[in-house]
Amino acid sequence: MASQKTEQNWDIFCAVVDNYGDIGVTWRLAKQLAVEHQINVTLWVDDLNSFQHILPQLDLKKVTQTYFGIKINQWSEPLKCCYVAGDVLIEAFACELPAQVKQQLITAKQNYDEDTIQQKPPVWLNLEYLSAESWVEGCHGLPSMQSSGLKKYFYFPGFTDKTGGLICEQQLFAQRDAWQADVSNRLSLFESLGLRGIKTSDTVVSVFSYETTSLLALCQLWQHSEQTVHALIPKGRCLNSLVELLPCSVDEVSKGSQIKLNNLVIHILPMTDQEGYDKLLWSCDFNIVRGEDSFLRAQWAAKPFIWHIYVQEDDYHLIKLDAFMQLYCNNLPPELANSWKALNLAFNQGQADATCEHWQQLNLAGLPLQQHAKQWPIDAINDVDLVSRLVQFVKNS
């Protein structure tokens, strides 16, 4: 159920660091705020080129434009579009707000007088990265007093009811179930993406990882599998891992082309919008994903997956990976949990032999893993999605 019209104005600032991750999350956030909560959203983005990959209709020359009811402003410094303080200001992933925006916040605070009908200064939030680590519960929602006198809140997405929740549109699971119930949807989608020759009995794996030798090892393994394996791979960082398998350089590979290597067919995947990517994840037997946005969407796809996590100094990413795996495997039989964890760990550590060994151990056709993948989204969402919790958080602030 959509909430009542609020007439609120929210600004989201997004600095693109990793091509599609940051903008992917903030674009979904903006759409859900607008569609399900009727909030007027302005999304400020510093890299429209990256954004265009998931919103192809974006005009790179325009400093301001509107799609799906969301105003998209080019974030350049100094700002070409005027920032007018609204009800909420979100800095995504701790990006540094422009000085002139901060100054406006200070002015709004100084001018605000509770006794008048003046508009309150905006609620200022830092939307943080998703993590399954336990410390997130203790930091979520805490204020951050700034030396300027302003107060900012840290909003942490997470998997428990003491965190900020997970981005998930209210109709998403119903749409996914309807899609997956009709087998013809899968083949139609592959056809529409120019992915030819995929049969119902074939194994289809989507790949959106960073560079890793583990992917090369898996592809070499799949070449000699009994069944045909179709690996759907976009041009970019993951394809760079497969240079030695390709008949030409990565630059010469064109979208939609196929490279047949014994029982492995590599399909060069065209970029799709976010709705298209969701359908792709729903349609594959297994998904290899990375970062944050595709990682979460792979969970919502209710299919088994490998998470290639963003590498951090001192191998800290392995702590984050482990925290998620512990949570994900809570209700899995121990043997299966161990195989799935070992596969993810080996893939992330670039251990080629171990990745292949654990892939073979993990019985993809086995019912428990698939059943778990279907149940997990219901458990993980914890009743209330991130956007609904966020709207409530702002009301309570």
């Binding site: 993590s131 930091c139 204020p143 951050s144 030396s147 006198g149 800290y316």
Partner: protein, 186 residues
Amino acid sequence: MKTAHELRPGNVIMLDGSPWVVQKTETTRSGRNAAIVKLKLKHVLQDSTTESTFKGEDKMEDIILERLDCTYSYFADPMYVFMDAEYNQYDVEAENLGDAAAYIVDGMEENCQVTFYEGKAISVELPTSVVREVTYTEPSARGDTSGKVMKPATITGGGTLSVADFVKTGDMIEIDTRTNEFKKRV
């Protein structure tokens, strides 16, 4: 100015026009190596505490108050008593020591800095590192000598921290008081 990452228990910072004593710091890592610092703060003028979160690189004004080098003398519940070179005694509330209390032990020789606000001792800052005895830790499980495998340990005074797997009960270890991290065996 200090960054949130540089703060440690005993520091006094100015936020929203008020002085606050840092009682506890917890540093964690968010995505892309960014540090998140959670602080437990006590208002210097009022008897109120709060928790707050910062980016590691957030800058804040640390107030330079009067400080004196002192040594720990004794505990008279709920006060820790410190003494300067001229044998003057200063009482600091146990609550104001925050995490530093775990390293205050009888007979400690390290110099601490007692901070004063309007003549009242309000906090104590420990040296950057202290040496303490491990009073209990499980024997090494894996025989690891790299220092990367960690296990829990209790030190003199009852504090706990993670130490390298090769550390044994009775060993003296150096601890970074800013992060509560094991540095080395001495």
